[in-house]
Amino acid sequence: MTTEVIKIKGADLQTEEMILNLGPQHPSTHGVLRVILKLDGEVIIAAEPEVGYLHRGTEKLAENRTYPQMLVISDRWDYLSAMSNNLVWCLAVEKLLQIKPPEKADHLRVIMVELNRIASHLVFFGTYGIDIGAYTPFLHAFREREKILDLFEEVSGARMTYNYIRIGGVMADLPADWVGKCRSFLEWMKDRFPEYDTLLTGNPIFQDRTKGIGVLSQAQAITYGVTGPNLRGSGINFDLRKDEPYCSYEKFKFDVPTGANGDCWDRYWVRIQEMKESVKIVEQALDGLPAGETNAKVPRILRPPMGETYAQIEAPRGSLGIYTISDANDKPYRVHVRAPSFINLTMLQEILVGQKVSDVVATLGSIDIVLGEVDR
């Protein structure tokens, strides 16, 4: 009987690949995303993300909307950082119209976009904690976010689709006590960073689950067109706010954090540092807030001249760009959104190969995608 057992052991085992579907409905896919994984035991041999579940056809809608009407639609691309979407659309149209918003509008735009960056990175921080299994930082992050959303509600009237940054400037001046509230929020925020460091950043279990996982090399990052904290996590120092400054960013002093190895930990760490830098930028913008107009003179019916342009900004997820072709009408001829999440998501196909199944959630969370931007 023992010889029989040995014979069976020696025979070739037929192993099959197993297909595991990380379906559109899953607590950790941050939206409706489907990832089809081919597994050989615990190791992933192929990963294919499937997108399009949230496609709403904004590029087609744009052909039937006037330029100010498109602003409302732009809120819904990356719905966690709607101020950035508004800003990039306004920059594109202002480029075509060749108008420059006044200095005060620039400062206000910077303040709003940087506060939005903090809010967006807080969502990343909280949801990444949940993916790894730490439930508490999520609640703390959202408590901070509530304060930011309250500030935004006072200034624009909305908590998600702000529509505050308009073509030519901003919607309106700040309410009377807004600067004071913003400053007290910044003080509160600065005290929270050591807490986050103790809770998540410094936690050995968290570091163990993110260091060395999902490594994206510099060459891979460049060929996959990756931008934003994902690119900086791999060590490439490229930030549009420093390299191609817009909206008077050249006036503000801040650092650009870069990671060393390109693993999930570095991408996480870069975003935490970016939050600290954003706090610095908002403080500087508030300190130097000039008096003056908040809006340039813009005609009521906007008919940009013929031409095409590309405008891009450093959104929290990467370099968000708008390519628009104008045919001297009040509606754009063609609008294309270069969405950072859509392009960053392609790197998942390569960095997941060779990893274990238990690391999928950590890797996907570290790319920080928003499906509204992926599918538009």
């Binding site: 595991l20 508490t136 279990i205 238990s358």
Partner: protein, 386 residues
């Protein structure tokens, strides 16, 4: 630091809490030592039975049935309290409030309401499940927890069955519930819950070894496996450090290492975060209890909390002196110490992220196990040299 100004609600809550504590202390002092009271009550019951000419064997069976019902009643109440407490503790750690409505004061009746809801839920059995395995799995998981309470000392001499091999009995019986987890994974008929069940079983079986080994130094020093004897050993006054009680946790190096290893392994045994891959929702592979609903689902959580209380009770008995303490009766001290350790369990869950499966196993076999051996060696050396 600015001292917080208390709102009316906070003052009221503090008042109610102090009232509850004062009432509890008063009742404890009034009741006194439980064995005395129980002996008194049982004397009068036996007297009544003798008058009615009830045969002795009926009284023996009655005593066993009463003990079992008391323990089941105690477990149910304790679990209900622990679930409520967990929700409150986690809420306050996350700067929110937790249950506030059900029953009025801070939602104390929330768990009762949840239990009633679960009882009324439809019991869904999946088509591909093996019916008997699916049915018996929750039973096999819960019953060992209940059986272990028989040997748990709730204070001086307040124990259901004072076994000579008390610790061995508890460790052996609690190991049977691992079988229940595997049955749950298999009974679901779903390959992913099967994988989840196997992972949970591997984790439980692995962490049992350092857990048992970390207790061996205590047995060596106390010289007995009887839990009451170990607790009694710790209540003797101390010779080498006058103000510190002679609890095992204070023994230099041996006490702390044993305590830490035992605590970590208990957290792993009860499938609590950071070792909760078995029930984690955000992981890829579904947990072993995915295919359960209604009362069967609540049985798994009853078992989990019963084991949490059991492990905390053992920690209190083995390391924190069991029932020893001034003034108040021993069962009260035992409950205080047990719930202090339960608080640690709750605290861990909401602070730490989850460990990955292979790192978890590595931690057990490559870190905890060698250290428990070192611990035994050091204890042996100390005993010889003393």
């Amino acid at each position: 630091m600015i001292l917080p100004v208390w709102t009316i609600g906070q003052k009221r809550a503090a008042g109610v809490l102090s009232g509850v504590i004062a009432a509890a202390v008063g009742i404890a002092l009034a009741v006194g030592e439980l064995p005395v009271r129980i002996a008194q009550i049982w004397e009068s019951v036996l007297g009544l039975a003798a008058k009615k000419a009830v045969p002795a064997i009926v009284m023996d069976i009655a005593s066993m049935v009463i003990q079992c019902s008391v323990i089941i009643g105690f477990i149910s109440v304790a679990v209900m309290f622990m679930v409520w407490w967990e929700r409150k503790v986690s809420a306050h750690m996350q700067s929110r409030l937790g249950p506030m409505e059900t029953g009025g004061w801070h939602g104390w009746a929330q768990t009762i309401a949840d239990a009633i809801k679960l009882l009324l839920k439809e019991d869904i059995v999946p088509e591909h499940a093996s019916p008997w395995v699916h049915f018996l799995a929750p039973v096999v998981t819960f019953v060992p927890a209940f059986l272990c309470y028989a040997a748990l000392p709730f204070g001086d001499k307040t124990i259901s069955v004072d076994l000579d091999v008390g610790i061995l009995y508890i460790f052996a019986i609690s190991g049977i519930s691992v079988l229940g987890i595997i049955m749950a994974g298999w009974g679901g008929g779903n390959k992913y819950s099967m994988l989840g069940g196997l992972r949970a079983a591997a984790q439980s079986v692995s962490y049992e070894i350092p857990r048992v080994l970390s207790v061996v130094p205590i047995l060596m020093i106390a010289g007995s496996m009887k839990l009451t004897a170990i607790a009694a050993y710790q209540s003797e006054p101390v010779s080498w450090l006058p103000f510190l009680p002679k609890w095992f946790i204070f023994y230099p190096f041996i006490g702390q290492v044993s305590f830490l290893i035992f605590l970590i392994c208990s957290v792993a045994e009860t499938n609590r975060t950071p070792f909760d891959i078995a029930e984690a929702e955000s992981e890829l592979v579904a947990g072993f209890h995915t295919e359960y609903s209604g009362m069967k689902f609540s049985f798994f959580f009853l078992a989990e909390y019963a084991f949490v209380f059991l492990s905390s009770g053992m920690t209190a008995a083995l390391f924190l002196g069991g029932g020893s303490g001034p003034l108040l009766p021993s069962w009260f001290w035992f409950l205080i110490k047990t719930f202090a350790v339960v608080f640690l369990f709750l605290w861990f869950r909401w602070t730490f992220p989850r460990m990955r499966v292979d790192r978890l196993m590595e931690f057990c076999w490559k870190f905890l196990l060698p250290w428990s051996f070192v611990n035994i060696l050091v204890t042996g050396a100390w005993l010889i040299l003393r």
